[in-house]
Amino acid sequence: MTNQSKTAPPNEDLARKVLEHSVDGLLVIDSQGIVQFANPAASALFERQTGQLVGFHVGIPAGDDSVEMILPGGDGARFVEMRSTEIEWEGKTANLASLRDITGRRQAEEALQNQAQELQQRNNELVRFNRVLVGRELRMIELKQEVNELHQKLGEPQRYRYISLAKSSDPTPSPKVAFSPEETYRRYLESLLAGDSRQCREIFEQWLESVPLRDLYQDLVQRSLYEVGELWEQGRISVAAEHLATAITESLLTLAQPRLLAQPRAGKSAVVACISREHHQMGGRIVADLLELRGWHSYFLGANVPLSELKALVDEKRPNVVVFSATIAANVDIFIDTVNEIRDAFPSTPMLAGGQAFRHKAMERARRLPGVQYLASLQDLENWIGEFEPNV
């Protein structure tokens, strides 16, 4: 600002005119914090006459930042942002304060803040959940590695199939680099345990593009579910986490459906069922899908099928085979009853059985049951299908 003589009104006149006509509200506040000048825009903001604003004790602006003013207007409080700068006014130091209505912005900010808080809270929960589960899982892998190493030293076969002994020091995901089944499997399992369905889907789709469907079922889906099942049995993850993993897997399997239906038909059919009281249907689902992949028609009945219903369906469909999936060894008696009844009713229909339950000692009786063949793996199922000759 240039030096002005005390009687230099032309510049001050000009300044006043600029201030009067500004669309921003403008106040001149003296060194005592009292309004000396207010333009019409400021008066409109305050809903007062210009004259009423002059002499009003606002206070001395003393902030680094802008000040929010709240104006208790007729239709709810309004928020005004005030920025100030020091000027000379009528020969004295004063503050020129410019005012801008930010009511709308502030309301939007509040809404955003609430949303952000909610998201943050949910995210924190997920992170905690994830940390607990993945931490346990990683510790498990370490333990399994140790066990395997000990077995190796003793010259025995490795006890656990599902871990990579190669110590990968680079777990960073590399989406566009060559497809690595082992690396993507580990990430898939972590995501599954963390309930991250989006990440699971991405990896699932990668597998769908990169490997034969059978490998996807066996090396991604079955393997991960077995590991989840083991973690659950050992009390390392909650039932909820296990169910979440199952639910995610089930939703992903639908992505493979179009491929299954495109397979040439083999003119054979199977009834696939989980026995009564068996609530885990994923194993059966996978078996049914694999049969479809080989051109079979599978009738998958899902979880907890009452014996009477099962018999009725077998009677109606007359399948080439009946397949049972069992995950809970405690249901061994129901399983044995079921097999006996089906064998008596349909003596020429072969039966297959598989699933996690058969790994338990309690199921030994069931494995030796006449008329039913125990399959230890999906590979066994594949072999069985390959050798199958309809005996009708």
Binding site: H57, P61, A62, G63, V67, L71
Partner: protein, 104 residues
């Protein structure tokens, strides 16, 4: 200019900070006046916070139209500074806490 000498050394200064919710600016203002109290008044002051969102009628009654506003309630006369009080020189001047102006 009146100076802090007018307040007896044993008497507490009383400040009231008017805010509309504990916004970031309100938090900064509170921290700034607390620091000034420690540094310039050796803690001989009390700071009360009034939230105008809880007591909206006070805005009109006490002529507080900007937040944050810090009011010096004691000693008289009443003084007001507004903003986050980040400009401590202005705060000291506005509250009349500044060292005596050097006027020879």
């Amino acid at each position: 200019m009146q100076s802090m000498k007018q307040a007896s050394r044993s008497e507490k200064w009383v400040f009231r900070l008017y805010v509309a919710g504990m916004t970031p600016a309100a938090k900064r203002a509170l921290a700034n006046i607390q620091a000034i109290c420690e540094k310039h008044l050796k803690g001989l002051c009390s700071i009360e916070v009034t939230d105008l969102l809880e007591q909206p009628a006070l805005a009109e009654a006490r002529q507080i139209f900007a937040v944050p506003t810090l009011v010096r309630e004691f000693p008289a006369p009443l003084r007001k500074v507004i903003g986050d009080l980040g400009n401590s020189q202005k705060v000291l001047e506005g509250l009349d806490l500044a060292p005596e102006p050097v006027l020879h």
